[in-house]
Subunit: 341 residues, 2 copies
């Protein structure tokens, strides 16, 4: 959308003053009552609330925030909403914020760190109480802004780097290692990998590195790859699986960059008559619902996105001041054996 024409200012009809006049009290009394703060006589409270209802007063939080220098806004920055994992994180954030009077303000970067920089700059101008941001992959300017702002910053999803303040997530590298180890122990020897764009998805790459390390420790390696350029999806997973299977190097297990891709793989095998896991075993990542409901439950790693969102909020508000020392919270992961590997 091009620069929008500025909308006309709409004067808010009623203010504290109106309420105060009508209830015959001072403005600050109204203010106290609206925020349940400070001592107020029950009788006055009722009189004021009646006036509030009568004239339909809605406090102006813009003015309130300015006066108290506290916006009660929480900035949330995620790369995408197409990938279901981020809506899940947001649900955790929302759940944690519910009942408080903090409002999440959500922005999407489309995996573009330059756009992220613009977004963070914009978000900071709202003086949020905290910023929750996915990942560690920021431009130097973004990093600097976040670091120098006195807003608490939580970097979500990932704990494989040094956070600005707090990181909440899991180690994708360790998860990758766990996947590799698990599959080696189950007897697989000829490994294939189906993945998507690493430029944008740093965590997928970390998992890949972990997998390679585990295989390396067992004297093995990934024998065949099929990498897509764009983001992950079921259709891309299906396509890349077809491509991998067409290669001369035969594999007995395919590791996918995530569950969406792996589900595509399952569909491809179903369509082409390959038996899972006899002809080829499949392994995903994320533990999405869809994987559990397949005719054979998908073998995968469960991460807990909701928990990441919720914990991020809790950590952000844990300390009154911005924390002095960096802090890492591991929300963990779990191998889900399933039936496809």
């Amino acid at each position: 959308m091009q620069q929008k024409q500025r909308l006309p200012a709409r004067k808010s009809k009623v203010t504290v003053k109106d309420v105060a006049l009508r209830a015959g009290v001072g403005e600050s009394t109204v203010s106290r009552i609206m925020r349940n703060k400070g001592p107020v006589a029950e009788e006055t409270r009722e009189r004021v609330m009646e006036a509030v209802r009568a004239i339909g007063y809605v406090p102006n939080r813009i003015a309130g925030s300015l006066a108290s220098l506290d916006s009660h806004l929480v900035g949330v920055v995620v790369p995408s909403l197409s990938n279901i994992v981020f809506p899940e994180v947001l649900q955790g954030v929302h759940a944690a914020l519910r009942g408080s009077d903090y409002q999440p303000v959500i922005s999407i970067t489309d995996y573009d760190i330059d756009l992220e920089e613009t977004i963070v700059r914009g978000l900071l101008s709202w003086k949020p109480a905290a910023i929750l941001i996915a990942g560690f992959d920021h431009t130097p300017a973004t990093h600097r802004m976040l670091f120098e702002s006195n807003v608490r910053v939580v970097e979500m999803m990932d704990i494989d780097a040094t956070p600005i303040d707090v990181a909440v997530g899991m180690s994708h590298r360790r998860a990758g290692y766990a996947i590799g180890k698990h599959l080696v122990e189950r007897g697989y020897r000829r490994f294939g990998y189906v993945g998507h764009d690493w430029q944008a998805d740093r965590r997928a790459r970390l998992r890949y590195e972990g997998i390679c390390e585990a295989l390396g420790d067992a004297g093995l390696r990934i024998a065949a790859h099929a990498m897509a350029d764009g983001p992950s999806s079921v259709s891309v997973g299906r396509e890349m699986t077809a491509r991998l299977c067409a290669q001369s190097t035969k594999v007995d297990v395919i590791i996918y960059s995530n569950d969406d891709m792996a589900v595509g793989g399952v569909f491809q095998c179903l369509g082409s008559g390959l038996r899972i896991p006899e002809d080829v075993a499949l392994f995903g990542f994320n533990g999405l619902d869809i994987g559990r409901e397949l005719p054979q439950p998908l073998s995968t790693v469960r991460s807990n996105r909701f928990l990441i969102g919720r914990t991020s909020v809790e950590k952000a508000f844990e300390t009154l001041e911005r924390p002095a020392t960096k802090c890492i919270v591991d929300t963990g992961f779990e191998i889900f054996p399933g039936a496809t590997a």
Copy 2:
């Protein structure tokens, strides 16, 4: 989360005043330059921008909004993020807002109209430029607040009722009718329906009514139902399909409340050896990606959620004033024949 302890006010370090002093200009000049508004000499602009960079000035939009009585916030209210259709709507909203200096503020109601009331009240207190809200199902108080506020209101998803200002979406009743007609024309006669909670999902019920009407017009009816209590999901769809198939009344086609449910149906059939569509045909709603990638593409109706989000923003900002007359925008739908029915 319980009422959060109020965070300490953090004084924003640098203000227009600091910039003005350093650049040796007046505050309003800085203000003009920051907003690219009004005539400014190129030389002064550069001097000011240099000062801005030097001391790392970030304008405070809270103060700006208060002064201009224009918040540049857009409230977005959706019932859930678990159901992928709403993240898709949000993507459309984000796309339409990108490049403008409006910020979406997203809230989730969990299909609870009382919670929605609280949320709308909270949102209005931020004096948003517009409110985009999913559906028509509001409490009287919510309806009244929205109606009486002078914020432009767009009700999204649905156009089967009279909007407050603007409705953007499709007719779910007509979509239901189209589904029924399509299946009758394809020769199906023994209809089953698998659905989820209608209390929360008014649109699913509208589609159901449309289906019944179409069948009625052909002298037919739905012979067997399996209804779940909770929200829709792949697993619930699978479960309800099993239940329906176990009933004595046999059907030759099952219509699902949506694609998630239908995908569950596909998995159930795959698991129990039923051939689709020979033994039983399946029909969904939404046109999700996942449906297209199944071994057989799912027969469904495509709605365009991204378009709904984008169009909603466009309509909201189309008029400078709140529109005088109610307006309905039909984003349409399309039968996708697929291969499961």
